[in-house]
């Protein structure tokens, strides 16, 4: 347990050192979401309709961009080798790393999403649902993404390959996440979507660290 906290602390410290990375993921999120009004035009009714989808897709992409940072630096400088050789079980260390990834990538997105929602003219209730959906959804994205990041580790062109592996697996999160906001807006209530999202999250918490650990061991072989 101590080691998990240590690795979270370490990754947060590293993130502080290269602050620009964390901030840039955030700005990426904002910029991508803001590109749409530019590409599509300013009608606010149209924008309100597409808002949940656009915000969620932007969150997906921002998370995905951060995945390259998840294991690759540790792999390149040999730290990952040392982790595998460490007496602490690898699974724990991996869980710690995923948690740190969520804190540095997912959490800021959740906090920032309302601002974007306001840009797209969403009302307060919809903003609340958006935040809750992202709060459930972003850890899911980190967990699934970690599998992809581990699989593509040390593979040439891994940085782009990971998107190919991970984006299709993100589809349910996207559908339920954006769906929650949409069905709230259309008056149907977001409960169903949100509980499905929570169920997926529970499933992923259980399986993803295990699959990630297995994938890491394979890529180090």
């Amino acid at each position: 347990m101590n080691a998990v906290l240590a690795i979270i602390r370490r990754d947060l410290l590293l993130a502080m050192r290269r602050k620009s990375e964390v901030l840039t993921a955030l700005f990426f999120f904002i910029i991508v979401a803001s590109l749409f009004p530019l590409g599509i035009g300013p009608e606010s009714a149209l924008l309100r309709t597409i808002a949940p989808g656009v915000i969620w897709v932007s969150a997906l992409l921002a998370t995905m961009l951060g995945l390259a940072r998840l294991f690759a630096p540790d792999h390149a400088d040999g730290t990952l080798e040392q982790m595998v050789l460490s007496p602490t079980p690898l699974g724990l260390l991996v869980t710690g790393k995923i948690a740190a990834h969520w804190i540095t990538t997912g959490l800021p997105l959740v906090l920032l999403a309302p601002v974007l929602g306001i840009q797209f003219d969403l009302d307060v209730g919809a903003l609340g649902v958006l935040v809750v959906a992202l709060l459930l959804g972003t850890p899911l994205l980190s967990l699934i993404g970690a599998i992809g990041a581990a699989l593509t580790l040390g593979v040439r062109g891994g940085g782009v390959l990971v998107s190919l592996l991970v984006l299709p697996l993100y589809v349910p999160a996207l559908i339920f996440g954006a769906g929650a906001v949409e069905s709230h807006i259309s008056g149907l209530g977001a409960g169903g979507h949100l509980s499905l999202l929570a169920a997926l999250l529970a499933l992923a918490v259980f399986f993803a660290p295990w699959a990630t650990t297995a994938a890491l061991r394979i890529s180090l072989e």
Binding site: L151, L161, L167, V171
Partner: protein
């Protein structure tokens, strides 16, 4: 019991599977031809014209088999991959690798034929129907599997990494399917629902089944041929490969 286990493992070694596959391939090609010819004959000459869709519906005789095979092959591929991970047999990974391109081909064919069908029927090449969308995602999963394996140089590592991806995919495919379905019904966007397709005449069903059998046999034949090439590539440095008749010749 123990006897059967041993012989099973014997055929799980590339060395004994290679000639066995060589002997099986012609039979599967023959079956492909037989089912294919009868199936085509039924699809074009026996099955009646559809009263709603005219002759355009005949696409169904390849569309549905391709769609079925694309889903079935994914499960088969993941099973082999999982076996490889669990039992550490070399052949399993090679089988998974051999099946993937054929699976991707089937997924592509179902999309292609579906699109060519959709244009006359719905007036659009593509709609974001639940089934179409999940077929598209399945295609992406295949491509991801192939790309991952291609990107890893070490064959054993590629097998294991691919296996994990395939297994994660197998857990996800049903989730994706249902989520897409739900997404689609909520929006009530598409006006035509595939599930409400016209009830089929028995001859149509027969044609479809025969073509599905032909596709199935085809997939087995191609996968076996490909696995033989993979075996040779991977075992190139072993003695038994050097002693093969086709190498000596």
């Amino acid at each position: 019991m123990s006897n059967r286990l041993i012989s099973w493992f014997k055929y799980a070694s590339p060395q004994s599977f290679y000639p066995l596959a060589g002997r099986m391939i012609p039979w599967f090609w023959a079956l492909t031809a037989v089912f294919g010819v009868i199936g085509l004959w039924v699809s074009f000459f026996v099955a009646p014209t559809d009263f709603q869709q005219g002759e355009g519906y005949r696409i169904i005789f390849i569309h549905v088999p391709a769609a079925w095979m694309s889903m079935f092959l994914y499960v088969v591929m993941a099973t082999w991959a999982g076996l490889g991970l669990a039992l550490n047999t070399r052949l399993s990974g090679m089988m998974a690798q051999a099946i993937a391109p054929t699976g991707a081909l089937m997924a592509f064919l179902s999309l292609w034929t579906g699109a060519l069908w959709g244009k006359p029927m719905w007036g659009a090449w593509w709609v974001w129907d639940a089934r179409l969308t999940s077929a598209l995602i399945l295609f992406f999963l295949y491509i991801g599997f192939i790309a991952l394996q291609a990107a890893i140089d070490d064959a054993r590592r590629a097998d294991k990494a691919g296996a994990i991806l395939a297994l994660v995919g197998v857990v996800n495919v049903p989730i994706i399917y249902f989520s897409v379905k739900w997404w689609n019904t909520l929006h009530q966007g598409s006006t035509i629902n595939l599930a409400k397709a016209p009830s089929m005449a028995t001859t149509m069903l027969w044609g479809m089944l025969l073509m599905a059998l032909a596709f199935w046999m085809y997939s087995i034949a191609v996968a076996l041929t490909r696995v033989r090439a993979i075996i040779l590539e991977r075992e190139a440095h072993t003695e038994w490969v050097k002693d093969l008749n086709e190498v000596k010749a």
